[in-house]
Amino acid sequence: MPMNDRLSLHVPEPEVRPGDKPDFSRVEIPEAGSVRRPPEDAEAESMRDLAYSIIRVMNRDGEAVGPWAGSLSDDEIIEGLRHMMTLRAFDQRMLMAQRQGKTSFYMQHLGEEAISCAFQKALKPGDMNFPTYRQAGLLIAGGYPMVDMMNQIYSNDADPLKGRQLPVLYSARSHGFFSVSGNLGTQYIQAVGWAMASAIRQGTEISAAWIGDGSTAASDFHAALVFASTYRAPVILNIVNNQWAISTFQGIARGGSGTFAARGLGFGIPALRVDGNDYLAVHAVSQWAANRARRNGGPTLIEHVTYRAGAHSTSDDPSAYRPKEESNAWPLGDPVLRLKNHLTLRGLWSEERHRQAEAEIRAEVIAAQKEAERHGTLHAGGKPSARDMFEDVYAEMPAHLKRQRQQAGV
């Protein structure tokens, strides 16, 4: 370390910026199948290495290998591929709808489809996700109707949230999907509280907390880890590391920590790092953590390593802060293509079946979109009543809100 007379501030920078050649040489990718699978009741201390590696199942050829392979049946894997394809098709249609002015805003999942779609299959009815705005795969894979998602995005007269909430901030209690908030990180500690409640009531349900790489810097992330650790809450603490928080590269949130998963170790929480673009690996790791939580083994932290291939939102242009072709250079590839290759290799899928599935899914999404648009879009057709604006602030409307509703003439 050089000796200086004066101090200097270190401000991390990504390796490359627009115009530079993408460079992911810093990302160490272990061979698929090479990371061990500890018993589900292993002590956190005994598996520190897993916070610094990446659990992967599908190898370069598309084979499922190693101790984490085999958590799903063939039919479930095919279903998983369809879920990811559905989410991608849904994103494409809603992006277009936003460009057409049918809604004000949208956020896509491009490149991250495996994480929420595979994770949901490790949960049981009664479990509760506390998602961010980029886990709609939990809804798709959980069987929530696409048309209700679209109604929410359009804020139309069938919007389950009565037009009160920004697009994609869904809420679906019936499907174990907690109300998404615009305030980042807040739901992470709430998930822990929910899990504590299940334990207090001696229930059987577990919860799943979700956060992005950037929001791990929020204080509620820290609070969540303290509470989860202290009370051994039955919660799965997911971090989706997609490398980017809007324009800010993950190094700004990570600092000197080797990985985000490593943050769990300081709290005595077992931490797993998984290839987020490997559907089979995400499922196996999620299942491991869910089993552990259900057996009263306490929390697990999972860092899903992935790449945000799309823009942050419809209000964002990533070419202003990162190379345009960076997503193509991402070494973990594309989750849909990888699972497709795996199934094809095993003779369970083909190019033809894929094209056919794409066509079917597109038709399903378009049908849902037509049905949603019959209820209206943001600026056209049916919309929630202005009376709905005053409801549900409280269980019972207090006098001052009744007066204001009257003033509003609704």
Binding site: P160, R164, A172, S179, V192, G193, A223, D392
Partner: protein, 337 residues
């Protein structure tokens, strides 16, 4: 009927609620084994066990955030922030999450939660053990805000708050924990024993939220106040001989506007009184409401008596605290105006 201090009344409210409803859980810093730094939760852990009443890490956003998750699950958490001065790290959770849960989820998720916080000055608490942050909550739609001034009300209001389906900020004037305080800091402390409102039923009862109490009937001027200032107002009225009607709001949000307007229409004069700093304090809202609803009944401007617009000082405690002399002088000025 048993006599209780405000501390005992608050403890009794939690005891009664935990006994009646096993979904009620109590936690916070030092709340479990030790029974709270103000003894408000003493004995609850022994009686109900560690999973119903327990100690929490020193993380206000953690305490409130976890409670929100528990409420979403179906519990009824009654959590403690050790001093209202330390609620700020939880402000995001309270204002953006608890307050809006029902609204933003179209009542799929609700937040039946109580957050207790000792509030107010008069105890040489300095800058961070004396604050009255109620206006930071009354500005937040979706919250309810309660401030008791007697043991009887403290118990009845706390039980009502725990049973309420909405999130309630329950501000406990710590100066009133052991006895009523009228601002005469130079006199010996009076205990609650002997005060009529210290007779508190042992079992279950509620004081409904949203209902003010007229604690002194009068004809000359209405004093709208809450918490410790209720007792200061009473002393000022006695000492000046001005026949003030004193309204103890008890619940600041939702507000019993009817009780205020009824009184001001009768007296024609109104003082709003609180410990919290003046500018943008809750008194501003009260004054505005009184002039909107009672303009033609008013014989003079609505007067606000409040803490100065400074951080709460230590050595200058009694120059800061709006005591009976300052309130009395303001009353006299109003009557002469």
């Amino acid at each position: 009927m048993p006599r209780m201090t405000m501390i005992e009344a608050i403890r009794s409210a939690m005891d009664v609620s935990m006994e009646r409803d096993d979904r009620v859980v109590v936690f916070g810093e030092d709340v479990g084994y030790f029974g709270g730094v103000f003894r408000c939760t003493q004995g609850l852990q022994q009686k109900y066990g560690r999973t119903r009443c327990f100690d929490a890490p020193i993380s206000e956003s953690g305490i409130v955030g976890a409670a929100i998750g528990m409420a979403a699950y179906g519990l009824k958490p009654c959590v403690e922030i050790q001093f209202a001065d330390y609620m700020y790290p939880a402000y995001d959770q309270l204002t953006q999450e608890a307050a809006r849960m029902r609204y933003r989820s179209n009542h799929q998720f609700t937040c039946p939660m109580v957050v207790r916080m000792p509030t107010g000055g008069g105890i040489f608490g300095g800058q961070t053990h004396s604050q009255s942050p109620e206006a930071l909550f009354t500005h937040v739609c979706g919250l309810k805000v309660v401030v008791p001034s007697t043991p009887y009300d403290a118990k009845g209001l706390l039980i009502a708050s725990i049973e309420d389906p909405d999130p309630v900020i329950f501000l406990e004037p710590k100066r009133l924990y052991n006895g009523p305080f009228d601002g005469h800091h130079d006199r010996p402390v009076t205990p609650w024993a002997g005060h009529p409102a210290a007779d508190v039923p042992e079992g279950h009862f509620v004081v409904p939220l949203g209902e003010a109490a007229t604690v002194r009937e009068g004809s000359a001027v209405t004093i709208v106040t809450y918490g410790t200032m209720v007792h200061v107002a009473a002393a000022a009225a006695e000492e000046t001989g001005i026949d003030a009607e004193i309204i103890d709001l008890r619940t600041l949000l939702p507000l019993d506007l009817e009780a205020i307007t009824r009184s001001v229409r009768k007296t024609g004069r109104c003082m709003v009184l609180h410990e919290a700093t003046l500018t943008s304090g809750f008194g501003g809202e009260l004054a505005a409401l009184v002039q909107e609803h009672c303009f033609y009944n008013l014989e003079g401007p609505v007067v606000r008596v409040a803490g100065w617009d400074t951080p709460y000082p230590h050595a200058q405690e009694w120059d800061y605290f709006p005591g009976p002399a300052r309130v009395g002088q303001a009353l006299k000025d109003m009557m002469e105006a």
